[in-house]
């Protein structure tokens, strides 16, 4: 997709919504998932080895029990019947109890250790995926909606959690029991064992079928649930518009359709299991009957003892019971596999705006910005900025005006490196932004975006987001500087007032003031304000402007505004039109002229009437 190499239909998140894949692609995906899994497991190698030892012990003890019971019947009881005393029997009974205790202790150790490993891996995976999402650039996030992000970090992680919690335990125990039982059977009686193990190839074939089928189905389930989540999250996020515009019935329709798709996918999975599990049981039960017949016949002819026959019947139960567990494991494995595939896809996405390998040194940014033959287009679109050369000396305050959609915000985003230009360079103090370390860049350039996002938390928390290490006085000082202090102090809990979900408890203007204070606190060399005062009333706006005069005295500023009152504080005005700078000069000169800006300014003065 956007961030992968063209033609690689499987790289990154590209293959996410396909449920039928070619063999090579699914092989590649599987390798990728396996690599991630290996990566996650590697740090726990020692613990895994320990785990393995524990489980061998535990399974050994478990396996010994039926054997001991058989021995009890064959060797313990006859002496008693002959009045030879019950010594052997007692020894065997003690052995059974010991085996049970060992099994219990090792089981507990196993559950704890595997639980710990599982949780550690989950934590690591969560961190990694979260951090990677944060690393990926905006162009990725524009396509990959927040619902998807959430679904990766919740339902997919849960699928893996399930695998780690119960699956691994089931598989290891089952495989060990399986192998152990087979060995015991062979030891007890080779003839009978051959009969008992005869259906094994059939079992393997059957399992292969199941694996193939459920592989497809589980991909489909994961994708279906992701769609449900995406729709759910989006309609809850925009519930205001949903209700005001009576979108509910249509939303319900869409949701029910997605929900039904999800159900159908789940249904398919359930049906496959419904065939597989009883199938295993059938094979197992037929084998038991065969062993009974053949074993009975052998016993009749004294070719085997009754004890051996009894042990065989016990073991066979144990042999096929874990098969069921293995198929259960397959279930969780498939669903975790599908999840892992998606997560590994996300982790594989490269940020389009990548961190430099060898960052250039820029200990102290003065704040001069230069566009050098910059061309830019959003992915797949027409060029938004065809060719731009622009020099903003350090300390200058530049106002950018122009019709909506002219590319003002795009220009600002290029300076803050939300995107990289398609051609040309953007330079800060002569250094290409692509060569700057992210931390350095963000310290030097801060942008107040058009949409003022506030996080759940207090007003102070939100302002402090600009500089997390700032003290309370700094927070208050920042609010004071831009004239937000009075309104904040008047809130019920002052700076400790909760702003609510996405700042919902603040009015639009209040949100803007908080966002502004946040940027001010960050104290960057280059400050970009993208319509940062558009929702303020006139007096508040004027207060902000007055503050700006002092704030901007010693730093570079790019101010985008439609209200030309802001322009009064600028040293220089750029008029943009279709991605080009069509006028450039001091406000006085432009107003005095006869160009676009002069016209705009006249229109604006008229609008004040």
């Amino acid at each position: 997709m956007s961030e992968g190499v063209a033609g690689d239909t499987w790289r990154g998140v590209a293959a996410e919504d396909k449920d039928q894949l070619s063999d090579t692609v699914s092989l590649l995906l599987r390798t990728r998932s396996r690599r991630l899994l290996g990566d996650l497991l590697r740090p726990h190698r020692r613990q895994m080895a320990l785990l393995f030892a524990i489980i061998v012990l535990s399974s050994g003890a478990g396996l010994a029990i039926p054997y001991l019971v058989a021995a009890g019947i064959d060797d313990g009881i006859p002496p008693m019947l002959r009045d030879d005393g019950s010594g052997t029997l007692l020894v065997i009974v003690v052995a059974v109890v010991t085996a049970a205790l060992i099994q219990a202790l090792t089981r507990q150790a196993f559950l704890r250790l595997s639980g710990r490993i599982g949780q550690d891996i989950l934590l690591e995976l969560r961190r990694r995926v979260f951090d990677h999402f944060q690393k990926l650039s905006l162009s990725f996030h524009e396509k990959y909606t927040s619902g998807r992000v959430i679904s990766r970090l919740t339902s997919d992680i849960e699928a893996i959690a399930e695998l780690l919690a119960s699956g691994l335990d089931g598989l290891v125990t089952a495989v060990l029991t399986l192998v152990g039982t087979a060995v015991m059977l062979l030891v007890l009686d080779a003839h009978l064992a051959v009969v008992a193990l005869l259906p094994l190839p059939l079992l393997l074939l059957f399992t292969r079928w199941f694996r193939r089928e459920s592989g497809i189905t589980y991909r489909r389930t994961r994708e279906a649930v992701a769609l449900v989540i995406v729709h759910f999250v989006e309609s809850m996020t925009g519930i205001r518009a949903v209700q005001a515009f009576r979108r509910e019935p249509r939303n319900q329709e869409i949701f029910e359709r997605l929900n039904d798709d999800y159900r159908d996918a789940n249904m398919r999975a359930a049906r496959i299991v419904a065939i597989f599990m009883p199938g295993i049981k059938l094979i197992g039960n037929v084998t038991v009957a065969a062993v009974l017949l053949y074993g009975g016949w052998l016993a009749l002819h004294d070719a085997v003892t009754v004890g051996v026959l009894a042990a065989f019947l016990l073991y066979l139960r144990q042999f096929y019971e874990p098969m069921q567990e293995i198929s259960q494991f397959y279930n969780t494995l498939q669903s975790a596999g599908a999840a892992l595939e998606k997560l590994s896809g996300v982790l594989e996405e490269e940020p389009a705006v990548a961190e430099p390998r060898r960052p250039a040194a820029l200990p102290y940014a003065r704040g001069s910005v230069r566009f050098d033959g910059v061309e830019f287009s959003y992915t797949g679109g027409a060029p938004v900025i065809p060719a731009l050369d622009l020099e903003i000396p350090a300390g200058q305050t530049v106002a950018v005006v122009g019709t909506t959609g002219a590319g003002k915000t795009t220009l600002a985003k290029l300076i803050s490196r939300f995107y990289d230009p398609v051609a040309g360079r953007v330079l800060l103090d002569g250094v290409d932004l692509r060569d700057l370390d992210e931390a350095v860049l963000r310290r030097s350039v801060v942008m107040v975006t058009q949409e003022n996002f506030l996080f759940t938390g207090t007003v102070a928390d939100n302002i402090r987001f600009g500089r997390p290490e700032a003290g309370d006085e700094d927070v208050v000082a920042a609010a004071r500087a831009i004239g937000a202090h009075d309104f904040i102090a008047a809130l019920p809990d002052g700076y400790d007032t909760e702003v609510g979900k996405r700042g919902g408890r603040m009015s639009a203007g209040q949100r803007q003031l908080v966002a502004f204070a946040r940027a001010f606190l960050a104290d960057p060399a280059v400050l970009i304000l993208d319509e940062a005062t558009s929702s303020l009333d006139v007096p508040s706006e004027r207060l902000v402007q007055r503050a700006l005069r002092t704030i901007l005295a010693d730093r570079t500023a790019v101010i985008i505004a439609h209200r030309l009152s802001t322009v009064e504080i600028a040293d220089r005005v750029l008029v943009m039109e279709s991605g080009r700078v069509v006028e450039d000069g001091s406000p006085e000169r432009l107003i005095g002229g006869s160009g676009r800006f002069a016209r705009l300014h006249r229109a604006w003065v008229d609008s004040l009437a």
Binding site: G72, I73, I77, M80, V96, V97, A99, L111, Q119, K135, H141, T145, V149, T154, A165, V228, F232, V233, G238, R240, A241, Q243, A244, F245, R246, N251, N259, A270, V273, A274, M277, P278, G279, K281, N285, A289, L292, L293, G296, W297, A299, L300, L314, R317, T403, G405, R443, V446, Q450, M506, S507, A508, G509, E531, S534, L536, S540, R563, S607, L608
Partner: protein
């Protein structure tokens, strides 16, 4: 935020109730459910009978050298085995529909309910919390009601049958086996109490984590603008670490319990062997019976062991049911009345309106009187945070007045049905609120029958015909929250959406703030035509927008202090002048007083 579970016993009772209530979702599936249960019971029977046949073979043909009886008994074992497999198939196959149907139906209902819950609810509940209820919790419930309950009943059934069989075979040993259930029951109860608390905690913490993920996905631009990746990651680590710690505690708790459940049957087996052997020695028991006995006891190991998992699953399902029912039980405070306005004229009145946010000391609005006659347009002017948005939200009943009333054509808005009211009123919000779907769908949100001409007319009024030039025209999918558009483009789409379908009452909440002067003038020109017919309530910070209105209402300290024509107010009311006049000499601080 979701309240924490109260005292344990309370929480438990309500949990049972919550889960029990959800059973009604299974009603349409009575037939397949009955089939699956019958199949389950018969399957158990077949499973129990097989070892008994084994006993017969050992005691009969093998002991007496009776070759003729071997074959029929062997065949019987075969038939039983095949039957058990078939019954298992039948159970699983017929169970899928009810269980998945239950999950799907609850999810549909949950979604429907959430769409009805008022803004006040949604202001408080993060979608992450709601989502974890709609996904994780529902699948937990599904797993338990589908498989857990069945296994629980099957296990108990199997346990009791086997014990009865054992008692009949040789009662002293049977009694021993039955007695081993006592410690299991006692411990299960203690375990249950602690498990329910810890599993609720894990679920809540996971909800918090999901919430944080959501915020950091939606706020990605802000995080990037400030380069706060590490800071955000640290917070996330903290939350994830909490989940990690609680989950570990849960693992520790359950590992103790599960292990205990495994010891009991195995130790019982040893006792059976010892005492059984003694009995065989004493002649009270045949060897074949002992073999059958031990086989049966061994069969008990799995049901008892799995009891732990199932009980844990049940606890989780109960907490989940609690969390789901908690949402389902939240009454929508804003429900429509039964009135409809047949031919709306658009007469909007605020009569002594008061509005107070829950828990707030002072009302945001008080004693607001405003009469907007049909076809008239009134501008609402007030300082930042004075309550303008709140006032506009009262009209389509996104929030309800706490005193007084709002009427449309003489009907209290609370008496009107919501669809009727909301088709009379259309709002363009201060935040555009767009969805990641096609432009066309964004525009026609509630008007599914809007024609292409309607859409074009609306786009032209809002000066948003740029939409036709997007790569796929109106079918272009715009990014989440419209993020692939410029700020002004988003705002104009939201405006076009509001004017689409010619609503009688048009509410515009500062909807021209992101437009440049020229575009603004064009939009205003076009809006004048719309507002000539419709009733308008226009929130404005700028004089240019105020000029759209016939009259202006000044909102101060929560109430409307002045109403009049713009020019009159400008000359007569100093506060108004302070808010709207751009004279540079005006001292802003004084103006704010």
């Amino acid at each position: 935020m979701p309240p924490q579970a109260g005292s344990t016993s309370d929480a438990r009772r309500s949990s049972w109730n919550s889960l029990w209530r959800l059973r009604s979702y299974l009603r349409p599936y009575t037939r397949p459910l009955v089939v699956s249960w019958v199949a389950a019971v018969l399957g158990i029977a077949a499973g129990i009978l097989t070892p008994l046949v084994g006993k017969e073979i050992i005691d009969g043909p093998v002991a007496h050298g009776d070759q003729g009886a071997l074959l029929p008994l062997g065949l019987l074992a075969l038939v039983l085995g095949v039957a058990e497999a078939l019954l298992t198939f039948l159970r699983r196959w017929s169970q899928a529909a009810p269980v998945l149907g239950l999950e799907t139906a609850i999810r549909d209902d949950l979604y429907r309910h959430l769409q009805r819950l008022p803004m006040r609810f949604h202001d408080e509940w993060q979608s992450g919390q709601l989502l974890s209820r709609a996904t994780t919790d529902l699948s937990t419930i599904r797993r338990f009601l589908g498989f857990g309950v069945l296994f629980l009943v099957m296990n108990v059934l199997q346990l009791t049958t086997v014990i009865v069989v054992l008692l009949r075979m040789y009662w002293p040993l049977g009694l021993l086996v039955a007695g081993s259930a006592i410690p299991v029951v006692i411990l299960s109860q203690r375990f249950e109490k602690r498990y329910i608390r810890i599993s609720r905690q894990v679920q809540d913490e996971q909800g918090d984590l999901a919430t944080f993920v959501e915020e950091s996905a939606l706020g990605i631009r802000t995080i990037k603008a400030f380069g706060r990746r590490r800071h955000v990651a640290a917070t996330y680590d903290g939350l994830a670490g909490k989940v990690h710690r609680t989950s570990l505690a849960k693992v520790r708790l359950s590992s103790r319990f599960f292990t205990f459940l495994e010891v009991v049957p195995n130790v019982t087996l040893a006792m059976v062997l010892l005492l059984g052997a003694l009995a065989v020695g004493g002649g009270g028991l045949t060897l074949g019976t002992l073999v059958a006995f031990t086989t049966l006891v061994l069969q008990l190991v799995w049901p008892v062991t799995s009891l732990g998992y199932i009980l844990a699953m049940g606890q989780e399902a109960m907490t989940s049911a609690d969390r789901v029912v908690e949402v389902l039980d939240t009454m929508p405070e804003i429900v429509g009345g039964s009135d409809t306005v047949a031919a709306p004229r658009g007469h909007l009145r605020f009569e002594g309106v008061e509005f107070r946010f829950p828990g707030a000391a002072r009302p945001v609005l008080r004693d607001v009187w405003l009469d907007v006659r049909p076809g008239e347009t009134v501008a609402v002017v007030g300082a930042t945070g004075s309550g303008k948005t709140t006032l506009t939200a009262l009209v389509p009943r996104l929030v309800d007045v706490t005193a007084g009333r709002v009427t449309v054509d003489g009907h209290d808005v609370r008496d009107l049905s919501l669809p009727s009211l909301r088709s009379v009123v259309a709002t363009a919000f201060e935040e555009p609120t767009l969805f990641s779907m096609s432009v066309r769908e964004n525009l026609t949100l509630g008007h599914r029958d809007a024609t292409d001409d309607d859409v074009r007319a609306a786009l032209e009024i809002a000066q948003a015909t740029f939409a036709y030039d997007l790569p796929w025209g109106l079918d272009t999918r715009i990014g989440e929250q419209g993020m692939s558009l410029s700020g002004g483009q988003r705002q104009r789409l939201a405006l076009a959406r509001a004017v689409l379908g010619k609503p009688r009452i048009l509410v515009l909440d500062d909807t021209l703030s992101a437009l440049d002067v020229e575009t603004e003038a064009l939009v205003e020109e076009a809006l004048r035509g719309v507002l000539a017919d419709a009733t308008g309530l226009v929130v404005a910070h700028r004089a240019s927008t105020v000029l759209l209105a016939d009259r202006v209402a000044l909102l101060r300290e929560g109430t409307i202090t002045h109403i009049g024509r713009h020019t009159d107010l400008l000359s007569e009311v100093p506060e108004y002048r302070a808010l709207l006049a751009q004279d540079a000499e005006l001292d802003p601080e004084e103006a704010l007083q």
